[in-house]
Symmetry: C2
Subunit: 225 residues, 2 copies
C-alpha cells in the first residue's frame, strides 16, 4: 500500500530534485576547497561521540565544522560545540533524513572558504538517508558493536550508499561478544572491497588510523580571492 504507484512517482520526483541540488552543492564545496564528510547510522550508534573526537583531533591541523541532524532537540550541537568548532543543528521535525535543501540552508550563513573539512551527521536511521545525496564527497556508515554483526545484511542499501564503514564502541566488543570477523565478512558481502575502521571514541583505539584516512583528500589548487 505504502509503495503504490502514486507515492513512488512523487518520491522519484522529490529524489530527482534533491539530486540536482546535491550536484550543485558538491560543485560549490569543491570550488571552496572544503571536503564534506557525512555520517549515517542507526540511533545511538555513537555518531556524536565519534564526531566529538574527530572535531577535537582534526581541529589541531584543519579548519573544521559540523552540521548535525535530529528530529528534535539541539543536544548534539550543544555537545559538539565544546570541541570549539562551529556547529549548526538541523531539526527535521518528523522527517527521517536530511536532504540537500536542509544542508544548503544550513551552510548559507557560513563562508565555505573558511573550512577545510565539514562534517554532516545525518538523522539516526538505517533506511531513509540512503537515497538522499547531500553533496558530500565521502559518506561514512557507522555501526556499533552493540547492534550486532548482521546489520549490513539487514540494511544493505545504506551500506551500499556509503564509501567506508566505521565500527564504534570497540571497547565494548568483549562485553557483547562482538565478532569483528563476522561483521567484516557481512560488510564485504553487501559492499565488496569496502574499508572498515574499528574504533573506540572512549579509549581512542583506532582513531588515528581513521583520522589519517579522513585527511587524505585532493586539495584543489587555491585560486586567489
Amino acid at each position: 500500500m505504502s509503495s503504490g504507484p502514486r507515492i513512488v512517482e512523487v518520491r522519484e520526483r522529490v529524489l530527482k530534485q534533491n539530486d540536482l541540488l546535491a550536484r550543485e552543492l558538491r560543485r560549490e564545496f569543491r570550488r571552496a576547497g572544503v571536503q564534506v564528510i557525512s555520517l549515517v547510522s542507526s540511533p545511538g550508534s555513537g555518531k556524536t561521540a565519534l564526531l566529538e573526537q574527530l572535531l577535537t583531533r582534526l581541529r589541531r591541523t584543519y579548519r573544521v565544522g559540523a552540521l548535525v541532524g535530529d528530529l528534535a532537540t539541539d543536544n548534539d550541537a550543544a555537545r559538539l560545540q565544546s570541541s570549539g568548532a562551529p556547529v549548526k543543528q538541523i531539526t527535521t521535525g518528523t522527517i527521517c533524513h536530511l536532504d540537500a535543501t536542509m544542508v544548503s540552508n544550513a551552510v548559507s550563513a557560513w563562508t565555505l572558504r573558511d573550512f577545510d573539512l565539514l562534517f554532516i551527521e545525518n538523522v539516526g536511521n538505517l533506511v531513509c538517508p540512503s537515497s538522499y545525496d547531500l553533496g558530500e564527497s565521502l559518506r561514512i556508515v557507522v555501526l556499533s558493536v552493540t547492534e550486532g554483526e548482521d546489520k549490513p545484511l539487514k540494511y544493505p542499501t545504506i551500506f551500499n550508499s556509503a564509501d567506508i564503514a566505521v565500527i564504534t564502541k570497540m571497547d565494548l566488543a568483549g562485553a557483547v561478544e562482538f565478532d569483528f570477523e563476522s561483521a567484516h565478512r557481512n560488510i564485504q558481502t553487501v559492499c565488496p572491497g569496502m574499508s572498515v575502521y574499528p574504533v573506540s571514541a572512549k579509549t581512542g583505539v583506532g582513531m588515528e588510523v581513521l583520522i589519517q584516512r579522513l585527511s587524505q583528500w585532493e586539495r584543489p589548487a587555491q585560486t586567489a580571492g
Copy 2:
C-alpha cells in the same frame, strides 16, 4: 522539499487507508480472542533477543506466535523458530516500516483462534513505524542501554505512539554508564505516566515482571465455533 504539499497529501491518503485496514484487523483480532503486541525500536536494540525470551517463556502458558519485519533476510524468523512458536518473516524491501496490509497478508494463512498472543516485531527504525497502526492492542517501544538516555527526547513521536517502554541490555548498564533515572525522566517528559520495564534478555533480570504485564489482558468470552 521532501515535505512539500504534494507528498504530504499522498502520505495522508496512504495513512488513512492504513488506519481503516488496521481498525478492521483490530476487530478481527478481538473476535478471535488474540492479544496482539508490537515492538518498535532502532536497529540492534535487542528486539529479537527479547522476543526470543518472551516466546520461550510465554509458550509454557499460552499459544504464542510472531511476525518479524526486516528490509532483507529471514535471519530473525529462523532465530525465533528455535523457540518452537510459529514465526513468519515479512521482508519489506526498501520500506522502513510495516503496515496493516503486510500484517493482514502475513496472518492470512493462520487461523487466528489458534493463538492467545501474537507478537509483531517492526523494522528497526525510530521514525517511520510511528505513524502506522498495525491493529495491535499494545505497542512496546524498546530502548537499549547502549543507545543513551536522550533518545526519548530526540524521537518523541515514536515514544508517544507506544503504550509501554522496555529498556533492554541492562546487563551492560554498568559498562556503558547508563543512568536509568535520567532515561526514565526523559521518557516521562515525552510520555507522562508511561510504565518503564528494565530487562536483560541475557541474564533474565526483569523478564518476569514484564511477562506479568503482558499476561494482563481482558480475555473475551469464548463464543462457540
